[in-house]
Amino acid sequence: MRFGVGLYCLQSTASTPRHPSVPYRELLEDAPSLEAWGYDGLWLSEHHFFYDGYCPALLPVAAAALAVTTRLRVGTGMMLLPLQEPARVARLAADVAARSGGRLDVGVGLGYRDVEFDGKGIRRQDRVARHRDGLVELERWAVPAGATVWNGSATSKGVARAAARGQGVLLSGANPLSLVTDLAAAHRQGWEDAGRPVPPSGARPRVSALRNVWLTDSPSERLAVLDWQRASYVLYAGLGWSVAEQGSTEAMDFRTNLDKAVAQAVDTSIVGPAEVVLDGLREVHESGVDDVVLRVIVEGAPRDAVHRMLQRFAAEVMPELAPLEHSPSSSPLMPSAAEVTP
């Protein structure tokens, strides 16, 4: 099991105001630190036209973070592929991948905010076709340059299609473990149904999941962490994000029932001392997840607390879980994200 950190959204929010250059400076400071502490990846997130400056252009940021590191992978979780010109964005990704020695993970999602499509002059109804065109161009330009393409679908059909194309997935941190289990199984099934080589003879693309994880022995810090996570999910009410009902999983609608949706999302958290975190992450592994992206860059979490926790996690938890490995999966160190993956 490998670990990444995210999601870097590079905002300056109403409750955590700061100069808009600060999150960019901190990202470029954090990237070498994460690398030194032993993390495999750093993940970015994209939105447009939002008051807090939510990062609208991930590939320049990825290029900058990769330029100050030598081993760390940088992923887009997710880059909203239909909102960009397919050939150009693929050439940008190819350039980033080539400059970094293939350390770019291009996670792609469809996008869901009508206002973003309207701003770019693109009909939301065209997003699937544009997404398909974008994937073709990424395969043409970015993959030969060393980039790895990841899919951000949040449905069983979507992740199965991604697997059939040979793409890994990164699942949302808000997903209950039952849904994670279903999606991971669908991904493996999609891979096998496509006639792809079954392990151990062949390596399948990886399944990763964002999870709300925090290592602490302090009951008061535990409460504080849950409060930071609550605050971080309020953002998705502002963005208008929701998760449709799927199988046994309830709908999660941050627009119409904020308190319930936030409670559902926060309920996925694994927060506590080492044994609690280890047990929780072993359960995540058993659900079919190969790798985890720690969702710790959240609203209100003080940076020094995040750093302390990440260093302690790297020392106490990562070595215990590193040996966990499902049947052989493909080489890219880290996987990618779901649509909004809060």
Binding site: Y24, P56, P60, A94, R99, D118, G121, R123
Partner: protein
Amino acid sequence: MRIGAILHEPTDVQAAADAGLFALLLEPPARPDPADTGCIAAAEVASRTRDCRVVVRLLLGTEHPVTLAEEVAVLDHLSKGRVVVLVDPGELDDAAAAEDIGLLRACWSGRPVRHTGARWTVPSGIMAEALGPAAPKTLAVTPCPAQVDLPVWTSRAVDGSDAPVLAERIEEVDARAQVAVGVAEVTGNLEQDRELVRSWADAGATHLLLKVPTPQSRPTFERGFFTGYIARHLQPEVSMPAFPRIMAESALPAILRGARR
């Protein structure tokens, strides 16, 4: 006159920045198709340097100007407000290029954007039905750039744009303009290059971007090409009238001899 450099090798970035050049433009890899990935090379320069200006080549006609504006705003924050935008109109005619430049500047202004032109309508209204009463009349392009007013230059004259034009010949320099920027090629021949930079300065250029020879073809200098040659011999030549060359030609202090940069 301030001297900067146009580079092709990422490995030159640190040396050029250490030499104190005012700006660096790292060109994207050469390809048969248009080099429209300038923001990636610029991001690398931004993260590897602290003080120099970061010139980003922005090719029009391959992406929506709102997307290009977002990329540049992000770059401006990555560089802590050091971006200079070099707009390349590419295959657009003047009217189209002027519209794109106008829209870009509107996006960087911090004002709500509302644009109707021959090429673009922003917001487009294409999702108005789905958005209903929430359909926006204007667009907030965020984040705003770090700089109060992003410097914008163009690679050729564009009718309808008042941005400084990158002069490729000395005769094109506008000596009355606040910013008159040129581009020239250095060879490594000291007398010839001194004459070159002096000519541009005498013509009224305020900023000169030097195309440098490839690492393989450039002459070797004590402390390297950027510090030992451009910064030691060429920049001083145009930093004051009648630069006393003894300042550049006397022996280096022992501690600096043999330093590669």
